[in-house]
Amino acid sequence: MPWTKVFIEKDETNILQSEGLRVLSFRNALKEAQAQILTKYPEAFLMGEGVDDVGGIFGTTLGLVDQFGKERVMDIPLAENGMTGIAIGAAAAGMKPIFIHQRSDFLPMCFDQIVNHAAKLHYMTGGQVHVPLVIRNIIGRGFGSAAQHSQGLHGIFLHIPGIKIIMPSTPYDVKGLLIAAIEDENPILFVEHRWIYDYMGFVPEEMYSIPIGQGIIRRNGKDITIVALSHMVYESMKAAILLEKEGIDVEVIDPRTVKPMDEELIFQSVSKTGRLIVADVACKTGGIGAEVICKMIERNINLFKVPPVRINFPDTPTPSSPVLEDAYYPTVSHLVRAVKSMV
């Protein structure tokens, strides 16, 4: 189906266009989702450092200020924790803020407000108050961005009850999931990856939402399951194509939301393949991979034919030098090698 397909190469989307289907980049799908949200919900607003500037958060908010004004596309002071608290207070009073961080690395500055406040308010008030707050945050990569501009920190928040975590990979999903996030009215960490902004895909013009907690099979296969997140979905699809030529049939699952996680979909797949790789855009220890593998073992300790594998950033801070960067990031060939060692 066009809405489930991952297009690795830009010219592949020509097929869609030749069929009369609408094609947008991840970036523009995100912008369209925000514009539609702002139009439909008067209580929604965007806030973040530079949301209204010439860069427009890598183009994802570009021009929205002209359409919706400075109050609803709000540039803010550099006060991440305070502004998160203010967003929570506004959300508790009935607004629907989308707080945008140009890098996920700024989330630790808001840790108190996200963990102690956003995640707890609904529970602590006995359900009287809820916090419809979406926190868009973007994982950076490359060009020497180094240790404070390249982290994926979603694993830390996986531990916190009261927060949901969404990690879209395709243009279709980013639009549908952002709309779902706004409509869900819970505190939601919406984790994006800078390197998928230019990927293209089918995106309908109307508003639609994708159920939170529902993963998707990107590619059917019988030999091994790769659970891939965000940018790793594309890397895994590329690996799957290479491996197909060698007669290895890879199933790629994109959970799309990691909290809640579509455990059943992964379980069904691994029950079939008996082999599991979890590929994430974050460091290894204590991350999503550990949780996925643990959940599978809890369900059936005999599930695996070979020990499961995690493909992650190594447990080091991100370096700056291009040579060290190359050594740091797992690539398609890492995935291919891992798969070959397992089948």
């Binding site: 502004m83 203010i86 207070g89 607004m95 406040h117």
Partner: protein, 358 residues
């Protein structure tokens, strides 16, 4: 009036002025000129309600069936009462771990609060908040943070929402002197002033954060000046001066409501009990007893009562009657709250996430 400084007392005690109700009659009279006898009696009733509510906690706490850490407000009642007198039900407040006084002054039912303290299903938060996290949407209390300074950001957010919806609601943030040391306090002052939000910051400077005197924590005690760098007007109100609080709070609230932005009021006060629990700090040697005795001498309720009787010619018997009626109703509220049913254990898993009712 000469004042002996108790050994070990907080330095700022020296600057404190001992209020003599009779000497201050003229000042008080001026401040009270906009307040009817009815307003003044309301004020008195609110202070009495807070005092008796918490004295009840002290009476029953040793039974250990009220299983929640209580941070008592006794000695500080003038602030919550004086500020909330000017607020309507739609106005928002945020409080902190020392929450009971603000909630009662804003109109929460003591029995619902008692039920919460006892962890009962009919408590304001169905037993999920306890003493440190009360909430009541109908009273404009949209959740309480016990992380110092957390409530300040919630308040500014409440005010932002009101502003964006062009509502005439005012938000009051109550917090202590310790919160003015947190970064979030300054982040919030900056934003509230930048957007001219309808918020009033009320700093209750009781001179101590747990056991740490403010002299160990800040180079000076002029907390009312802290908003100056952001063009926020600040005022200092002397020790438990309820009419001073009333007057300045009214001005600040009216200013906020009229769209002229935030104000910061530092109300100096003193908590009589320990940071947490019903004991007094001198029992453990945390503070000198003589310091407490001096502040008890300027008890906000006692001073105000004297003023009402001697200057406003309100009959003592009327005030006694208010106190007796309140005592009866607090006892009754306690009985009801205590005897409510506990929540079912499966409620543990409810309210982690908001679920839309379709």
């Amino acid at each position: 009036m000469g004042t002996e400084i108790p050994a070990g007392a907080c330095k700022f005690y020296i600057e404190s002025r001992v209020i003599n109700p009779k000497e201050d009659d003229k000042v008080m009279g001026r401040r009270a000129k906009n307040l009817s006898d009815e307003n003044l009696i309301d004020l008195y009733r609110t202070m009495i309600k807070i005092r008796l509510f918490e004295e009840k906690i002290i009476d029953v706490y040793s039974a250990q069936d009220m299983r929640t850490p209580v941070h008592l407000y006794i000695g500080q009642e003038a602030i919550a009462a004086g500020v909330c007198l000017h607020l309507g039900p739609k106005d928002y407040i945020t409080t902190n771990h020392r929450s009971h006084g603000h909630c009662l002054a804003k109109g929460m039912d003591p029995k619902v609060l008692f039920a919460e303290l006892y962890g009962k299903r009919t408590g304001c938060c169905r037993g999920k908040g306890g003493s440190m996290h009360p909430a009541s949407v109908e009273h404009g209390i949209l959740g309480t943070s016990a992380i110092v300074g957390g409530g300040i950001a919630l308040a500014v957010g409440n005010a932002l929402a009101a502003n964006m919806r062009r509502e005439k609601r005012v938000t009051v943030a109550f917090f202590g002197d310790g919160a003015t040391e947190e970064g979030i306090f300054f982040e919030c002052l900056n934003f509230a002033s930048l957007k001219r939000l309808p918020v009033v910051f009320i700093c209750e400077n009781n001179l101590y954060a747990t056991n740490s005197p403010i002299t160990n924590r800040q180079p000076n005690s002029y907390l009312w000046t802290r908003g100056g760098i952001y063009d926020i007007e600040g005022y200092f109100i002397y020790d438990n001066d309820v009419l001073g609080i009333c007057q300045k709070a009214r001005e600040a609230i009216n200013k906020a409501r009229s769209g002229f932005g935030p104000s910061l009021l530092e109300c100096r006060t003193y908590r009589w009990k320990g940071h947490v629990g019903p004991e007094e700090d001198h029992e453990k040697g945390a503070r000198p007893k003589s310091e407490l005795d001096l502040w008890k001498n300027r008890c906000p309720i006692k001073c105000f009562r004297n003023y009402l009787i001697y200057s406003r010619k309100i009959r003592a018997s009327l005030l006694n009657e208010i106190e007796n009626t309140m005592r009866h109703s607090i006892d009754e509220a306690w009985q009801i709250g205590k005897n409510e049913p506990y929540p079912d254990q499966d409620e543990l898993y409810q309210n982690v996430y908001f679920q839309k009712t379709t």
